[in-house]
């Protein structure tokens, strides 16, 4: 029963009255629950196109609302509010204000691709989730999510050196998100690791956090990637918000 997984009626819009008479008719109590109507006036007719213009969002138009994505979703099983099917519906209808109610959880998609596996229409819902969280940031609805910060830390490192080094990634991410490296579970983990790790390997790992491993002959790739990324970022900003991006450029 996938399609019933999200009610459009919100608890705060349901009212019952202890004692109420309308036009001489008694409408008190539970049997006469009222659903307050809600009026959506701010349809954003561009929303679907804007999200479709971002990487991953290309096939959103194929969705036929079967709900298989939500039904199979890893994060939905932990948090029922996480609902790809419903968000795709809102985006295609252009109901921006409703989508924004969930702005702080959309980035939590763990890219497990269970939805992609289940989707009968090749919407690639995983990509749509990424495009949507990207869109929320580009529009200024949310600050950069921890996940987006992590993506950036890793990508910068790869573009720069050709490789990722775990220790540096951890340090930079914690620093950028203002978290302590001394959380008790991290300390416990490192203690446990060090307690039985051979000294030679320990030294090697320590060294690689200081001197990052590099791909040799990488400088050409670095230059090419930097140039390409800059171009893409301008293009994406233009697709979502042509006016602002245009002004910034001049």
């Amino acid at each position: 029963m996938p399609i019933h997984e999200q009610s459009l009626i919100r608890p705060e819009n349901l009212t019952t009255h202890e004692e109420k008479i309308i036009d001489g008719i008694d409408v008190s109590g539970h049997w006469s629950t009222f659903i307050e109507s809600r009026v959506v006036t701010d349809y954003n007719e561009q929303m679907e196109d804007e999200i479709a213009a971002l990487p991953g969002g290309e096939f959103i138009h194929r969705c036929w609302q079967c709900g298989s994505c939500t039904n199979s979703c890893t994060v939905n099983a932990v948090n029922p509010e996480f609902n790809p099917r419903f968000w795709i519906y809102l985006i295609r209808m252009g109901i921006e204000s409703e989508l924004i109610r969930d702005k702080d959880i959309i980035w939590q998609c763990v890219s497990c691709n269970k939805c992609t596996y289940a989707c009968p229409r090749d919407v690639y819902p995983e990509g749509v989730m990424k495009a949507t969280s990207h869109w929320l940031e580009l529009k200024g609805h949310t600050p950069q999510s921890p996940s987006a910060i992590f993506d950036e830390v890793c990508t910068d490192q790869i573009v720069d050196t050709g490789k990722i080094e775990d220790g540096r990634t951890l340090r930079r991410f914690m620093q950028k998100t203002g978290q302590s490296l001394l959380q008790d579970w991290i300390v416990a983990m490192i203690k446990q690791l060090v307690s039985h790790l051979p000294v030679s390997l320990l030294a090697k790992m320590g060294l690689s956090t200081l001197i990052a491993p590099r791909t040799s002959g990488w400088s050409g790739a670095r230059r090419a990637l930097k140039r390409y990324i800059e171009e893409q970022q301008t293009e994406q900003q233009m697709a979502v918000n042509p006016v602002v991006a245009g002004e910034e450029k001049h």
Binding site: P55, G56, T74, V75, V78, Q108, V110, S111, C112, N113, K114, Y117, Y124, E126, G127, K130, H134, S145, P146, S147, A148, I149, F150, D151, E152, C154, T155, I158, G162, K163, I164, E165, D166, G167, L170, F173, T177, W185, A188, M189, Q192, S195, H196, P198, L201, M205, S208, P213, T215, S216, G217, W218, G220, A221, R223, A224, L225, Y228, I229, Q232
Partner: protein, 311 residues
Amino acid sequence: MPTDQKNYKKVAYYPGCALEGTGHAYNRSTKAVGKKLGLDLVEVDNWNCCGAMEVKNVDPKIQTYLSSRVMSITANEMDMDVVMAPCNGCYHNLKKAEYELANDKESAEVVERLSKEAGHETYKAGQVETIHALDWIKHTIGEDGLRERVKNSLSGMKIANYYGCMYTRPRHIFPEKDAGPGSESTYRPHFMDDLLEAAGAENVEFPLKTACCGGAHTLSDSDMSTKLVLNILRAAEESDAEVIATECPTCHTGLEMHQIRAEKTLGVKTSVKILYFTQLLGLALGLKPRKVGIQENISSSTDFLKEKGLA
């Protein structure tokens, strides 16, 4: 068996970044098992990161380029046509790049442009076949070959085989899977089960073989990852498993990290052991624990292995 079976006895080896860092034990055990089995691994020259799980969120075409560079070196500089990647993430990304380059003109154009600017030959779809460490052992030595070579049977060891997300999803990037008898299944993968069973282990019925460990958000949404990992650890224990066998450094480290984190933050202790399938195979083939990097794992399984007569 793949239809156009290439010879996997000598393949290009793409360890990837994780195997030089937290996944070191996987690197060591993969190489040790290969050597023991008489298989030849030639490391890809000057390899770079495949794009991990993060680059695609910035731009999927950059990930395609990064993975294509690895395949370009394999084909054009090393003149080899099979690359083996033990990390699910690397394996997945190379497969995905292959699919994109064969099916998406725009990706192919971007890759051509970036390869030219970077100064190396452009990879063309079809030049290289990417395989996983599981395919490699399964298709060279196979179950029968393993059975003949087992020195210390894993008999009496109950194992939950954990494959994770990237090895089976999305289906379209794995055309050789779900291809009839003998092929791997994306719904119920079994290659690791097959190999470990040949090594004597008892595989338990484990429902979360392809569940997600939250690896993509292991640091950026740790609470979510801890919950997802805990599901996996508990399901394994409830299935009566003593060990979870892994085939990916991200899954493996995620399970180890969040096993500790679950204990520290949620007060839930689980004691199931976490070992790479290559470590288990190596032990069965008679390699010493040190040779397969048992002491490099975060979680300690030395006592357990002693109990089983393997250490």
